[in-house]
């Protein structure tokens, strides 16, 4: 099969045609390459952490170095991989196509947000190369403002800058989804991927300014000795925790909501069946975005927060779990009476369902105040949020990348290798992080360079799992690379899926649609319908 004569990939050559592009699809690829670089860097830090923890004594590196390793791992993975991952790559590529538009509402701002991201990333890399940061990705005060001797300012500036990339992307998505839908693309015909990104964008533009302000206050205290958080200067260290988690808890939903959107699409495509409970899935995304803003205090149950405030945060944390449960049940019901094909994207989606269920339910352990006292700041928390961020968000990202890869690249990849790597990721992930639940309940605190010997077996299991997980992540880089160079050409719709993105050529032309589509029904309508298709 031949690629369309002119598509977005061959429409313009040379560095300038990429670096100055306003095409949302090319910008998505710029993000794809840059977040992959950051993923590899963040993974290298994680590898060093897991190597150090093979033995109870801190013998591979100094304590200071170890502290920098887990800090840089967290900073890079959270701010430079997980938060931009699905929105900036898949969302950027697909949202205009899914709603029948030629581009995002603000193509130049879209390119600008990539440059801002790169600038922020450069600051963070400079911080890493010039000696690193050792505050933990949480930057808790007064350690970060008064005690730490590392490159806190450089890293903080990097995070501050990158936040604007996130804000601009969110703004672009919201305006695009409101204003650029094709005729007939009503709100309730939108693919659920788009709903999920709408909810995500709300959090991006409402939450991110708060982390920017918080980082500025940290900088003001550190550089100008303005007393904000440090009690020695008259400040309040717990205030920082409120401000930090006001953004950083919703930020978890920035990571997981887009993955949920991906899963909604994959489950429909590989069951050849429309979603069960469309409006419940759509509105549960909005509910998560809204309620998610009012649960931050569950990070402060042992920080001397008022007990009554704690009660409110606890009950709201349990409530935010309900929309997630609704989604899981609806996805499962969607498979019922489907035509199920276990291709690699579906394997990732099933992996997501299992791991997100465990990750979500173990979050309830932490929302239960009396139980949180024991497990707070232990490996139980580490295991929980990795089940959400790695088991949830990265499984969703990889599933989406496999699902839309033929559309993005115009080529197929090796399905047997993809299935194998999905299995490796699933097995490696569980072996890495399940033992950490046990270590956490036993009482092993997080961020420990050395630990008592009775935790060694669990840590060895965890490190062994991490090596399997690493292999599972490296294999796709290889076969996707091979696919780009020599993969078989893909048809417009290699999966037999339904949706606007599958009706246009692979890879799409620069303008996406040569004729503006008129939409007459929602996505993923597989049964021969009385309604006509897309005109």
């Amino acid at each position: 099969m031949d690629a369309p004569a002119l598509n977005y990939l061959n429409n313009g050559h040379g560095a300038a045609s990429w670096l100055l592009t306003r095409d949302h699809k090319r910008i998505a690829l710029l993000y794809l390459v840059s977040i992959t670089v950051f993923f590899v860097i963040g993974g290298a830090f994680a590898t060093l952490v897991r190597l150090e923890l093979l033995t109870p004594a801190g013998d591979l590196m100094s304590s200071d170095t170890y502290n920098k390793m887990f800090t840089m791992h967290g900073v890079v993975m959270v701010f430079f991989f997980l938060i931009p991952s699905i929105p900036a790559v898949l969302g950027n590529f697909l949202i205009p196509i899914m709603i029948g538009a030629k581009d995002l509402a603000f193509p130049r701002i879209n390119l600008l947000s990539w440059y801002i991201y790169i600038l922020g990333g450069a600051f963070t890399l400079v911080a890493a190369l010039s000696g690193g940061v050792d505050t933990g990705w949480t930057f808790y005060t007064p350690y970060s403002t008064a005690a730490a001797n590392s490159h806190v300012m450089t890293a903080a500036i990097g995070i501050f800058i990158t936040g604007f990339s996130s804000i601009l992307t969110g703004l672009n998505f919201i305006v695009t989804i409101h204003r650029m839908r094709a005729p007939g693309m009503t709100w309730f015909r939108l693919p659920l991927f788009v709903w999920a990104h709408y909810a995500t964008s709300l959090i991006m533009i409402l939450g991110t300014p708060v982390i920017a302000i918080t980082v500025l206050l940290v900088a003001a205290e550190r550089a100008l000795h303005l007393g904000i958080f440090d009690p020695a200067l008259g400040g309040d260290p717990v205030l920082f925790q409120h401000l930090f988690w006001f953004y950083s808890h919703p930020a978890v939903y920035i990571m997981i909501l887009p993955a949920m959107g991906v899963i909604s699409e994959i489950v429909q495509a590989f069951s050849r069946k429309n979603i069960f409970g469309y409006s419940f899935i759509a509105f549960s995304s909005i509910a998560i975005a809204v309620i998610g803003f009012f649960v931050w205090g569950h990070h402060l149950f042992v920080a001397g927060q008022s007990t009554y405030a704690g009660l409110l945060f606890s009950i709201l944390s349990f409530m935010v779990a309900i929309p997630s449960a609704i989604k899981v049940f609806n996805w499962t019901a969607t498979i019922y009476k489907g035509s199920v094909q276990l291709d690699s994207p579906m394997l990732y989606a099933f992996g997501f369902l299992g791991l997100f269920t465990i990750g979500g339910l173990t979050g309830l352990f932490l929302g239960a105040m009396g139980l949180d006292i024991h497990v707070h700041d232990t490996y139980f928390v580490v295991a929980h949020f990795h089940y959400i961020m790695v088991g949830g968000a990265i499984m969703g990202y990889l599933g989406g990348l496999h699902y839309w890869w033929p559309k993005i690249s115009g080529r197929l990849y090796s399905e047997p290798w993809a299935k194998f790597s999905a299995l490796m990721v699933f097995v490696g992930f569980n072996l890495t992080f399940f033992p950490q639940f046990i270590a956490g309940y036993l009482g092993m605190p997080r961020r420990y360079h050395a630990y008592p010997p009775e935790f060694q077996v669990l840590n060895v299991l965890s490190s062994a799992g991490a090596s399997i997980l690493a292999v599972g992540y490296i294999i796709p880089i290889v076969y996707f690379g091979y696919s780009l160079l020599a993969g078989e050409r893909s048809a417009n719709d290699p999966w037999g899926a339904r949706g606007l993105e599958w009706e246009i050529p692979s890879p799409p032309p620069t303008e996406n649609f040569t004729v503006s589509p008129i939409v007459t029904h929602g996505t993923h309508q597989y049964e021969p319908s009385k309604e006509v298709g897309i005109a």
Binding site: A146, P237, R272, G304, I315, I322, L361, P452
Partner: protein
């Protein structure tokens, strides 16, 4: 865990003898609260296992039963079911609310200190735990406590955030500079247990560990008696009260320029500009490091700050001294009467 090694400080008390091949799955229960926390833990593990297995089973059954049999096969269009949506909204909601209520109840039990709890002062600093018992006995990175008796820890930090964590007791509380946090427990089984700092505090965070040694009351008494005699915190506080010249103004008689302190602890005082405050550890601490924050009504703002002049431990000793003063309060906090006419001479 072996028998308590009552008087032996240092690394010998750490349980470092296990082979590193043992694989513990569950922590020891050594406090009156541990059982409560574990009960809710097991319930939540059961709920997680149930829903995890339910979803996994359904996925496997559906994937096999409805596997694609021909390339052009499509699924049956089913748009949803309100009854099912309500079912899987309402049931998880009630389970979640049950977990919330249970977790909150356990929290309150862990939070409310029983009357008559024995008070011990803890100061965290990079990277050690300093402890002083009411009898004056001090220790570092260890904590000796009797079993069967509620123990309340009053904790402050000299530098950054720390967190005092005893896994075998299922208790933890952040130790925060600039304020006091408290926690309590009742040890139930003699033994030596891990003490960890759970809040990241810099280079040697993972070295800020130690042991909690729970002892039979008689053994604990013997341990207290065996230590070299030191001033009680209250006695040390009394000396500070004189050496820092607090006594000049807080003289306790009508001529004092500051409120008399005898019997003031635990009572309400009226504040300048209206309002009242109960004199507790937090208020006394604030009144020493930031005296102008909440002035007792009728007294001029004369007192200088002692921030940076007294250490966290000395603060705790001063507070212990004020607590130990029995007296006629709350009347003691009354101003000397009349307008404050006398120009205030220099402090000291």
């Amino acid at each position: 865990m072996g028998p308590p090694r009552a008087t032996e400080p240092g690394p010998g008390a750490e349980p470092r003898l296990e082979m590193s091949t043992n694989l513990p799955l569950f922590p020891q229960q050594a406090s009156s609260q541990a059982g409560q926390v574990d009960a809710i833990y097991f319930f939540m593990v059961a709920v997680t296992a149930f829903f995890g297995l339910l979803i996994a089973t359904l996925i496997v059954i559906f994937s096999v039963k409805y596997r694609r049999r021909s390339d052009d096969e499509v699924g049956v269009a089913i748009h949803g079911s309100l009854a099912l949506e309500l079912l899987w909204t309402i049931i998880p909601f009630f389970i979640a609310m049950g977990m919330f209520a249970w977790g909150a109840k356990v929290f309150f039990d862990l939070y409310r200190v029983p009357a008559g709890a024995m008070e011990i002062f803890v100061v965290g600093k990079q990277w050690m735990w300093k402890v002083q018992h009411a009898s004056g006995q001090r220790e570092i990175n260890e904590l000796h406590v009797p079993i069967g008796r509620p123990v309340k820890l009053i904790m402050g930090s000299e530098d950054v955030l720390h967190s005092y964590y005893i896994p075998a007791f299922r208790v933890k509380a952040d130790v925060i500079p600039g304020r006091y946090n408290t926690m309590w427990f009742k040890a139930t089984r003699p033994g030596t247990y891990h003490l960890f700092c759970a809040e990241y505090c810099g280079t040697k965070h993972s070295g800020m560990i130690g042991s909690v040694i729970a002892m039979e009351p008689a053994d604990y008494q013997a341990w207290l008696d065996g230590g070299k005699s030191e001033d009680t915190p209250a006695a040390a506080g009394e000396r500070l009260f004189t050496s820092l010249a607090c006594i000049t103004c807080h003289s306790g008689d009508a001529s004092g320029r500051g409120p008399a302190l005898a019997g003031i602890y635990g009572h309400e005082v009226e504040l300048q500009g209206g309002g009242k405050v109960v004199v507790d550890d937090a208020y006394l601490r604030e009144s020493i490091v930031n005296p102008q924050a909440k002035l007792v009504n009728g007294f001029p703002p004369l007192m200088p700050t002692f921030q940076g002049m007294v250490s966290e431990e000395q603060l705790l000793q001063l507070i212990a001294y004020v607590k130990s003063l029995k007296g006629p309060a709350p009347g003691g906090a009354q101003p000397p009467g009349g307008p404050q006419s006398a120009p205030a001479p220099e402090k000291k």
